[in-house]
Amino acid sequence: MNQVNTFFDFILSHQNEILEQTLEHISLTVIALTISVLIGLPLGILLTRRKRLASPVLGVVGIIQTIPSVALLGFLLPLMGIGVVPAIVALFLYALLPIIRNTFTGIEEVDPSVKEAAQGMGMTNTQILGKIELPLAVPVIFAGIRTATVINVGIATLCALIASGGLGEFIFRGIALNNMNMILAGAIPAAVLALLLDSVLSILQKFIRKIIKPFLILSVIFVFIIVPLLVLPSFIGSSFRAGFTAEFMERADGYPGLKRTYQFEMDTMELDPGLMYRALKNGRVDVICGFSTDGRIKAYDFKILEDDKNYFPPYQAVPLIRGETLRKYPILRDIFAKFKGKITDEQMAELNYRVDRIKESPSKVARDFLEQMGFQIPKRSGKGADIIIGAKNFTEQFILAHLFAYLIESYSSLKADLKTGLAGTKICFDALKSGQIDLYPEYTGTGLLAILDVDEHTRKSLMNDEQKIFDFVREESKKKYDLEWIHPLGFSNSYALMMRKKQAEKLNIKTITDLKSYIENQKAAEDRN
């Protein structure tokens, strides 16, 4: 009941946004669908006249259909960048197969004796197509268009990953923040939309023979006039753009706070965390919100902008461990003490780089690093698990989890087992509380904001001071959950704004304040024009 209530509260408080996203979703789907029909239908007809082309064309279109949608968006990224255009192209490609195939099959399946009679009566090929074949193929063709519609409404949610808007924004933000209401606020309208568009088409099917001409004319006008209007802004727009993840856009310590602290606004678009770095590299956006230890910073030659107002809270990496486990195996505290402050930001970035870019295994990278630091690492052997180490689902956590396991097994007789890839902070933390895992690497900033969920006042009082925050989360976690933050590993994986190094140097931007003044100058220049 409570869940239902909070869901309705969420809907009410976000109704404008839901409406806007729904409209974006509809326009993405309808535009892509209209283009697919205007291209797929003639192509399907052409295949019935040039049968030799049929199997190669249907084959190619079929192969496109089998490309996983996220992969297709990935292919389109270097070609067309991000935003509405590649989204429409992707949706168009997915809609093509059902439309072409059903047009082809629908016309092919018209009774040959009916065609022969029409021909024998002196109808021209065009007359046979318009009066006989197409009307008889209407049910099959519409079945294809309806399939394409439902597919498109579904795939359009994924297009939120490349900053094209739509209901996917809520879904992905909801997943990132583990907010069920937000996920539902995107998923339910999307499902309703699929059913709604399907019914509209089924009604249209009944009247299509009467309204086909005005309908076709309207579609063509729609595509040639409305589409450029929608698409062009994403080409012109502002020259300097930021690409942020759904989570960053929503979190109090993300973009909303950044705007308040530095007092400036940017042209932003939402991007998938995985695609964001490539989008920056390819020049589709000019600044992104990365993590300061990400391996791709080095690989793509990015520059981290200095946070000169100390806005981003520090995210020191610390082993977070159950009090119960620590009392049972006190030796753990000594083991991690040996490793206190051993990894710098640059070293962690290097380790991430080796896994992400050079494709070495997290286990090997962790082992090499320890050996290089002079730790003695025995071969792991034996079974049974005294300690279970968890990790969230990204590279750095995988490496740290392996590192912890090597440390524990080298300096005690305890056996460690790994449970990696837990999707997100909440899942990992819940697993720790309930004792499904004994420890995992966590960040102080996350502890402060996501786990303890402190109010604005407390946050301000800590003033983004590394030591104060560490002490605060340590005491509070112990009190509230009987969990212990032991010794910080040394590096801090905090949010950071980053740009391409070349561009940053050219524009002479070193700090976020530099960025702010650059953007403000740009705007002033535009206003003058």
């Binding site: 004796s113 022969e116 021909q119 009566m121 002196g122």
Partner: protein, 325 residues
């Protein structure tokens, strides 16, 4: 008048139709007869150019059809196929109106013509059928609509490709009989393709018997039966010979050898002298008495002779021997 000269059609180097020639007179019913694969349908389709000939030429009223626009040509030729090919999304009315509409007739003229045609093919009253779709009609009714459609623009030439092939035997018989009598068939030049020997003998003025793409013999049914030019022609009719003979010999041929009973009774059944003996026997079958008499009339309704069917049969056997010899 249709003239076909040296027509050949090759499909992938194989001759489906091999150098055939014939001519069809105005108002004549000309039947292309043969087993499946003999090239008869291909020949028919070359006449309205659904199939383009490899070589040879065709003339209609002296015009070379190969020099005409195919769609224009087809609008002047009625065409009926075995599977009828009615347009399932059109009503009966719309189906019949297809060619008139292509010819841009005005609406009133089309409506009047549609009503007239439905009456002619025996779908009465027309109002009951106009708004129905093909799926709501029986096979026989569909074929009648198919005929009406082919006749819609009153073409002088009609091509029929196994028009009754898809019907059950009883309906087929009935429609075949009516077909001969249909008013609208009068004065039409008709080319009909069939593999059904009885249908051919029923309807044909002349038959063109084909095999393996070649013409074996062209002539009246009687000629093919009694003066076959080749062994193939003789063999083709062997199994049905007796029935066919009964069918092609009219009473007129028997008159010289038939005896007259001398009875002059107005109540006796009467037959015109052009009636075939088979039809007489079929009609008289109800009266079991072999001695029951009937009258033979000439076209002016004058009594030629009165005879019994026993006598008629005896006469037939005599004549038959004479003709076969």
């Amino acid at each position: 008048m249709i003239e076909v000269s040296n027509l050949t059609k090759e499909f992938n180097g194989i001759k489906a139709v091999d150098n055939i020639s014939f001519s069809v007179k105005k108002g004549e019913t000309f039947v292309l007869l043969g087993t499946s694969g003999c090239g008869k349908t291909t020949t028919l389709k070359m006449i309205n150019r659904l199939v383009e000939p490899t070589s040879g030429e065709m003339r209609i009223e002296g015009r070379k059809t190969l020099e005409e626009e195919p769609t224009k040509l087809r609008k002047q030729i009625g065409y009926v196929i075995q599977n009828i090919g009615l347009f399932p999304h059109y009503t009966v009315e719309q189906n019949i109106a297809v060619v008139p509409q292509l010819l841009k007739w005005d609406r009133n003229r089309i409506r009047n013509r549609t009503n007239e045609l439905l009456e002619l093919v025996g779908l009465v009253p027309p109002e009951d059928f106009l708004k129905r779709h093909p799926e709501e009609l029986s096979g026989g009714q569909q074929q009648r609509v198919g005929l009406a459609r082919a006749f819609a623009a009153d073409p002088s030439i009609i091509l029929l490709d196994e028009p009754f092939g898809a019907l059950d035997p009883i309906t087929r018989r009935q429609i075949q009989k009516e077909f001969k009598k249909l008013e609208m068939m009068l004065a039409k030049t008709i080319i009909l393709v069939t593999h059904d020997i009885f249908e051919a003998f029923d309807l044909a003025d002349r038959i063109c018997l084909m095999d393996e793409g070649r013409v074996k013999q062209i002539g009246t049914p009687k000629k093919l039966l009694f003066s076959p030019k080749k062994k193939f022609v003789k063999d083709f009719f062997r199994s049905n010979r007796f029935l066919l003979e009964l069918k092609v010999i009219p009473l007129k041929d028997l008159l010289p050898v038939i005896s007259d009973t001398g009875i002059r009774d107005e109540t006796l059944p009467k037959f015109e002298e052009s009636t075939s003996l088979l039809d007489v026997l079929e009609t008289m079958e109800s009266s079991k008495d072999p001695k029951s008499a009937f009258r033979i009339m000439d076209s002016a309704e004058k009594i030629k002779k009165v005879t019994t069917h026993k006598d008629a049969l005896e006469a037939f056997l005599k004549i038959r021997l004479k003709m076969t010899a």
